[in-house]
């Protein structure tokens, strides 16, 4: 569904430097690929680059991006616009910032529908055409809202973070998208909302057969959602593969460090020894957190 090959991104501000180097990975249809790494490793920029949404200061200097067989890196603005929301959609970390605070949810739906094959004529939110209203309601019901009309009439500030994220997914589902990009969609949500949104994404993927690229820094999200994992560090892909293989036998030291940190949160470590939750002595956790020598570039400041 999505194929990224040798992507290179450069920052233009100050001394030009490459922030993403030689990044290649793919997202098969109906599967979830997780792009994982720490803040600043370039995973969000990679995600934005796919839909041509890079900020002004960043430029793509190399590589190709293919969505559903179609090369998208050099599309005209009109084509890109049709692509976004039409074939591919994106949900972001902070849902509140994606909504216009003075417009109701209904107006947001109207806008999305107008951009992608709804009835664009009337732009007044009170006079939404019946067919569009039905589509909006269907979308909202699919993401789990029992009373879509209440949601449609609400303003973004009246909804919680989790609810807004659901509305984002509903907006994405208005068209028959083939690819869903999610940039840290649950980072700002609490643990229960996170679980619900991830389940929603999983179910939606299964029902619609779309490919999902999920960007995250949380290995737990990877364990829950991923079929494939791409590990990024300082702008490069250090390891990628099927999730089971990665967890069982990580090859790169950075991946190992990430996994060990993740497992230590559960009181586990490699080799399946349950250290036990709530141990009094910190030593086992400390020792488990740093297995063997860590290469220079992975050592923390």
């Amino acid at each position: 569904m999505l194929a990224v090959e040798s992507l290179e991104l450069e920052i233009l501000r100050g001394r030009p430097r490459k922030v993403v180097r030689n990044v290649s990975f793919s997202v098969p249809r109906g599967r979830v690929t997780c792009l994982v790494g720490e803040s600043g490793c370039g995973k969000s920029l990679t995600c934005l680059a796919i839909l041509g949404l890079l900020p002004e200061a960043v430029r793509r200097t190399g590589g190709t991006i293919t969505i559903d067989g179609e090369r998208v890196n050099d599309l005209s603005p009109e084509h890109l616009q049709a692509l976004r929301g039409g074939k591919a959609a994106m949900i972001l970390q902070n849902p509140m910032s994606c909504f216009d605070p003075i417009c109701t949810v209904k107006s947001h739906f109207l806008e999305s529908l107008a951009a992608h094959g709804g009835n664009p004529g009337r732009l007044s939110p009170e006079v939404m055409p019946e067919s569009d209203l039905a589509r909006a309601r269907r979308s909202l019901a699919e993401v789990g809202f029992d009373s879509p009309d209440d949601i449609l009439d609400a303003y973004p500030f009246q909804l919680s973070g989790g609810m807004l994220q659901r509305v984002m997914v509903a907006l994405a589902l208005l068209s028959e998208i083939r690819l869903l990009l999610a940039d840290e969609p649950t980072t700002d949500l609490d643990v229960v909302s996170q679980a619900r949104i991830l389940t929603l994404l999983d179910e939606t993927r299964r029902r619609h057969g779309m490919g999902v690229l999920l960007v995250t820094h949380d290995i737990g999200v990877v364990a829950r959602m991923a079929d494939f994992v791409v590990v990024m560090h300082k702008g490069e892909v250090v390891e990628q593969g099927e999730v089971a293989t990665l967890f069982a036998a990580p090859r790169h030291a950075y991946t190992r460090a990430l996994l060990q940190a993740h497992l230590s949160l559960y009181g586990l470590s490699f080799g399946d020894e349950a250290v036990g939750v709530g141990t009094v002595s910190p030593e086992p956790c400390l020792a488990a957190a740093t297995p063997g020598p860590v290469p220079e570039e992975v050592r923390l400041r």
Binding site: R13, S39, G40, S44, L45, L54, E56, A57, V58
Partner: protein, 280 residues
């Protein structure tokens, strides 16, 4: 300082900054820049054309126009400086107390502001001058009275929003007292925006000062001031239009310079600016 650098990076802002500095320097060093006394009446020299002695000619009373222009800068800018200082002092005190204290204090102070906001500047000026007499002091008083409340409201709003910021809470937990909280944690967040507003307002206040002086309510003759010069030149508008032109140009340049400078300051202080929040 990086702020200065950002400020001077735009061409218009650079020009505005230079112009504003020039006007300020003129106001400061006026006596040194002109050998003529602006109040020196010499009727034998009246309405002279520009010459080597009088670079811009003389006015209807034989006074050197250039000298009056330079000294006029002092009166105009000097009074504006006093006005801005007084407004800032008053509005910062009232605004931060209202914003920080909240409750009844806030309500009372805001009603006070509302009262002052209802007075139009010229009407109040005329009222005050009617009671207290003409003169620069009363003009300054009138302008301060009508403008401070607007600033106070804005400052109150800024203080309210900064009060709940986590670094203020953290400072409270660290034991910082209220006065230090306001001075070190809240006001430094308020000042940049207020300074921008004040800079943008300098032109507006200059026009008030000059306008009131033009009406004869402010600076009294023979003191040189741009508004007064325009008033004096009214009768010669057909014969000696340049007498009107020079002070008008001076006002125009000064107001423009400070407006553009204020714009530049606002852009320079805008934190969102370039990054737009793309990375962490």
């Amino acid at each position: 300082m990086t702020l200065l650098r950002t400020l001077l990076s735009g061409r218009t802002t650079r020009l505005a900054f230079v112009a504003a500095c020039a006007v300020l320097l003129v106001a400061l060093f006026a006596p040194l820049l002109s050998s003529w006394d602006p109040d020196d009446i010499d009727l034998s020299q009246k309405l002279q054309a520009p010459s080597r002695e009088h670079l811009l000619g003389t006015d209807h009373l034989g006074r050197d126009v250039l000298a009056r222009l330079l000294h006029g800068a002092r009166a105009s800018l000097g009074s504006v400086a006093v006005i801005v200082a007084a407004i800032l002092l008053l509005s910062l005190s009232v605004g931060s107390v209202a914003g920080y204290a909240g409750g009844m204090v806030d309500a009372f102070l805001m009603r006070l502001c509302d009262t002052f906001l209802t007075f139009p500047t010229f009407i109040l000026a005329m009222f005050l001058i009617g009671i207290l007499g003409a003169g620069m002091t009363n003009v300054i008083l009138a302008i301060v009275c009508t403008h401070w409340a607007w600033y106070a409201r804005i400052i109150r709003g800024l203080v309210l929003s900064l009060k709940t910021r986590e670094h203020v809470l953290a400072a409270r937990v660290a034991g910082t007292g209220q006065f230090r909280l306001v001075m070190r944690h809240i006001l430094p967040g308020v000042l940049p925006q207020i300074l921008v507003l004040a800079t943008l307002d300098i032109g507006h206040m200059m026009l008030h000062v000059s306008g009131l002086s033009f009406l004869g309510l402010g600076v009294q003759p023979p003191t040189a001031e741009w508004g007064v010069m325009i008033n004096d030149a009214r009768q010669y508008i057909w014969t000696q239009p340049q007498l009107l032109f020079y002070p008008g140009l001076a006002i125009f340049v000064t107001v423009m310079a400070f407006n553009l400078l204020g714009d530049g300051l606002r852009d320079a202080l805008d934190p969102v600016g370039e990054t737009g929040g793309w990375g962490k």
